[in-house]
Subunit: 259 residues, 2 copies
DNA sequence: TATCATTTGTTCGTATGTATC
DNA sequence: CGATACATACGAACAAATGAT
């Protein structure tokens, strides 16, 4: 019997009590927590207070609530997919990326025309509102079912250099790398990782549970003279995947700041 | 007047209406949204319904609510700190990391003894529950105030190879790299990025706002024979920082999966 | 300094809808 | 069908933070 007393709001005390019980291992993962009615009796509080506490734990990602069934302790294991972000190439000029997951295309890639934004423009050394090709893909990992949203942005100037890109902006990234190499570029990549909460429709397409962040990767492919050529974005649910990089020491300090 | 009708729960309709208004730009960032009382009148719903809608938008990270003041539209700009994760070295055998931010130590580093877990053990090729040194640091970026939690794990076996580490487990990472190099190792690094919601105390130390994920980096330093030497963890609030990697193509496909 | 209006936070009560088994 | 459990909605009251008077 833990008659709750001290700190802050009632519902926070209840939430803290449940949280401790979970972290102490009193409730196994994937186990049903006491029902709201039981929690009301257990802590002697009203229904709204219990719901408030449960909502807090839900926002922390600690529990998963299902309508009509109950609240489950979320398993705290690491994500199933380790997404290697290395790029490798063969002697025949072919590239391989996306190590560690086997992506299938859920839908056909959709090509559209887009415009640079305040974010994507500077990264490509372009002005804002300049037109470019955009190709969107919805991917799914074969073994885990984890989903990912992939987008490629190809400036018109680059498409002119490589006619095959202008005709088929939905070329797969590996193949684009090969084409750019064939066009005389020596490639290198620069990638940033952000995390944020998904918008509702984003959460739906990525099939992300409540309180799950989205990993948002932005990759720029650089050609000769370190000039940016294309931009790729990859968004995926952080509860299913983590991202992996290999780092090797370089002699030159590498500074790169936002424009 | 948008008399709300169709989809789903009332509070979700209200939330959707406000969300659209925000994304359409009807409310500037850092601007006060209508108060709860005004929203009640505006949509003709009760206070709990309005609060439910506001809570949903808050969980999405779209708005920021402050007690006694009101709800603000969150600015959607990119995080201020770009944390370069390259490693560079000089001809004198010194290493430099953490490009892009100037970290100050908020508190003195605290050294303790820890044990490997089911997660950290395999990464270091150790069994579970083996003892090792742990050094924790609370860092802050000078210009933005962004905070980060840094932890170094040093297995006893490695400390024996490098006596200076056994005496001073609170040596700074750059210096540790230099020491390991001096001990005859050629270093390379392997880093994974995860995102998750913070625990309450974690959120407090990192000074992260509501609905803000935490970026959790795990870096393994490999020595000769690709053997893992030390493990570093870095946790930081995703609304203040993003992480940046440089990728160069390698000839050998590089597979690395969890043990 | 003190008070007051405004605004969000917390807590109770109550009723009804809907998913699961 | 009924029992259980979570979801939604309304009403009401007081607490606490904020900013201005």
């Amino acid at each position: 019997m833990s008659e709750i007393q001290r700190p802050g709001a009632l519902y926070q005390q209840v939430a803290a009590a449940i949280r401790e019980a979970i972290l102490k291992g009193e409730y196994e993962p994937d186990t049903l927590l006491p029902s709201e009615a039981q929690l009301m009796a257990r802590y002697g509080v009203s229904r709204p207070t219990v719901r408030n506490a449960v909502a807090a734990l839900r926002a922390e990602g600690l529990i998963d609530v299902r309508h009509g069934k109950g609240s489950f302790v979320r398993s705290t294991s690491r994500p199933g997919v380790i997404l290697g972000r290395q790029v490798t190439y063969t002697s025949t000029g072919e590239f391989t990326t996306h190590t560690g997951a086997a992506w299938d295309q859920v839908e056909d890639p959709s090509v559209s025309r887009a415009r640079t934004t305040a974010i994507t423009g500077p990264l490509l050394y372009l002005e804002e509102e300049e037109a470019l090709f955009a190709c969107d893909r919805l991917l799914a990992d074969a073994s885990t079912g984890a989903r990912a949203l992939h987008r490629v942005l190809i400036p018109f100037a680059v498409a002119e250099q490589v006619p095959e890109l202008a005709e088929h902006p939905d070329t797969e990234p590996d193949r684009i790398y090969a084409l750019l190499t064939k066009a005389g570029h020596t490639l290198s990549w620069f990638e940033t990782v952000r995390a944020r909460m998904p918008l509702p429709d984003e959460r739906a397409t990525l099939q992300a549970p409540d309180a799950t962040p989205v990993l948002h990767l932005t990759r720029i492919t650089h050609g000769n003279d370190d000039h940016p050529l294309i931009l790729e974005e990859l968004r995926l649910s952080a509860d299913r995947a983590e991202v992996a990089y290999r780092i090797t020491a370089s002699k030159q300090p590498n500074r790169r700041t936002r424009a």
